[in-house]
Amino acid sequence: MRYALAIFGTAALVLVAGCRNRVVFTTQTSLGLDVSGTAQLPNKVSMSYNRFEVALVPRKTNGEAHAVYGGLDADVKFFAGHTIKQTFATGKAAMLATGAPTNGVDFPGARKVSSDHPLVFLTATTFGLHLTAGEKEMSPNLLLGYRRSEAAVIPVPEPAQEVRSVYADILINSSVNTNNTSITTNFSALRGVRIKQSFATGRAADALAGTSAVQAKLANAASLDPRVVAELKGKDAKRKMVVNAVSKDGITVDANLLKKLLTGSDGKLLPQTEDWVQDFEGKSISDFEKELLLEGDRHLDVLFERATKPE
């Protein structure tokens, strides 16, 4: 039910035409009568205080979820100041920030898409009666009361591809004084509202995601311990070392090298890797890297040790 509310609440806000797939980060507070749905049928009728935060991340056509990293922090008081902080990275920027392997991923830009699909950020406050007619992908909406919404929408024009590379750091603060539970120190000098938005797209997002400051911000937003991120990155470096050790040309897996790496001093292969030599012989190293990430993670330390051991 919450999922449905989120979708319809967001649909009422989002004025993006021509793209059904999208990654959405939204937060909404409403009080009063709020009706939305299609032109034929109201799917949602709310006569109450309603509040939700949601991140909608659709799946690619191959079943994998799009790469998204970050978080949302909201400090909202009833009829008082509110602080909302959204920090997230998507696509290649998210992968670079976490150290995830990017080999073999179909990124936007590699293939042309039919039209432009811009990143959209919306913030809206309505107090009173507001009636919106359905237009394009926006559903009809009736509000009698109060509603405050924020939404960041990243379209996915090609569902088979990874979502575009975006880094966003958004702060909306209408609180007037600081306290111990405050999530920001940025306040409006006018005792009004402070809106700080930082967007980066494409190569700019990739470049920013590579910096330690942005990585620390994202880890903080995702409530991750920086040590976890460091460990993930350490694993990525180990995987790269192992992958390089099983390839002569840097493109395909060499069966002999792989067999040598998997075989221990006792002449036995590592458990549950018996089929690897046969399966990955002549295959792309990115396929082997994926296998290492998913099934071979338990052997990573051993393989890394063998790969780095001098002959």
């Binding site: 959209v120 950020f121 919306l122 309505t126 507001h130 809106i195 938005q197 980066a200 797209t201």
Partner: protein, 228 residues
């Protein structure tokens, strides 16, 4: 006969007494609206042209978006109290109350040549500079065209009172205090930072916002040695 007439007069007077407060409130409301003024606002996003006939304010501001000077920030705004008729190529709107529209465009610096700052004239005579001033008569300006040329478009719209719109993504009817801000980042490789400190209402002020924008250039392909 005379008695009936007297009775009728008494009944009518009683009704009038009941309706008097309502009529008084409506009258005061209409007077306030009339005193505030009215205007017709025309805008064409394809050319960047804006015209205002009546009482209102047009604003235009240009600033550099980054240290390199490749990008510029063009901020335009329109404020109309009272009755406002909003006309455009693909939209039509009417508002009774107070309307505040602002738009910030991040564009290439070489597009600034076509800008025309607001000028005011009465019946086309004696034009004078009118940027950020409340004016009566005709006020006109030319911002940059927003379609396809802008790397990012940030739009703010605030309404207090009764408003109705048709087309242009604003098909709505409201009797409300309504404020909304939308940022659309179209460029594939852009870094945009926007810091606004605004009053509680309307909750945005693009004219005092600090903006930094940088377009990241595509890497130059490395030619293999020996290739001319």
């Amino acid at each position: 006969m005379t008695r009936r007439f007297e009775q009728g007069l008494i009944t009518l007077t009683r009704c009038h007494r009941r309706l008097l407060p309502l009529a008084f409130t409506l009258g005061i409301g209409l007077l306030i609206v009339a005193a505030c003024g009215c205007a017709v606002h025309y805008r064409n996003p394809n050319t960047g042209t804006e015209q205002l006939w009546g009482f209102g304010q047009l604003r235009l501001q240009v600033q550099s978006a980054g240290a390199t000077g490749q990008l510029a920030v063009v901020t335009s705004g329109c404020r109309v109290p009272g009755l406002c008729l909003d006309v455009g190529r693909d939209h039509f709107g009417i508002a009774l109350g107070y309307v505040n529209r602002q738009q910030m465009l991040i564009v290439s610096s070489n597009q600034l040549a076509t800008l025309e700052f607001p000028t005011n004239s009465v019946a086309g005579l004696f034009p004078r500079a009118a940027n950020s001033r409340w004016m009566i008569g005709r006020v006109g300006m030319r911002s940059v065209r927003q379609e396809r040329t802008a790397q990012a478009i940030i739009t703010g719209r605030a309404l207090v009172g009764l408003g109705a719109g048709l087309g242009g993504g604003e098909t709505s009817l409201s009797l409300a205090m309504d404020t909304r801000q939308q940022a659309v980042v179209g460029d594939a490789d852009l870094w945009l930072e926007l810091d606004q400190v605004a009053s509680p209402w309307p909750g945005f002020d693009f004219f005092t916002a600090a903006v930094h924008a940088d377009a990241v250039a595509a890497p130059t392909p490395v030619k293999p040695t020996g290739e001319p």
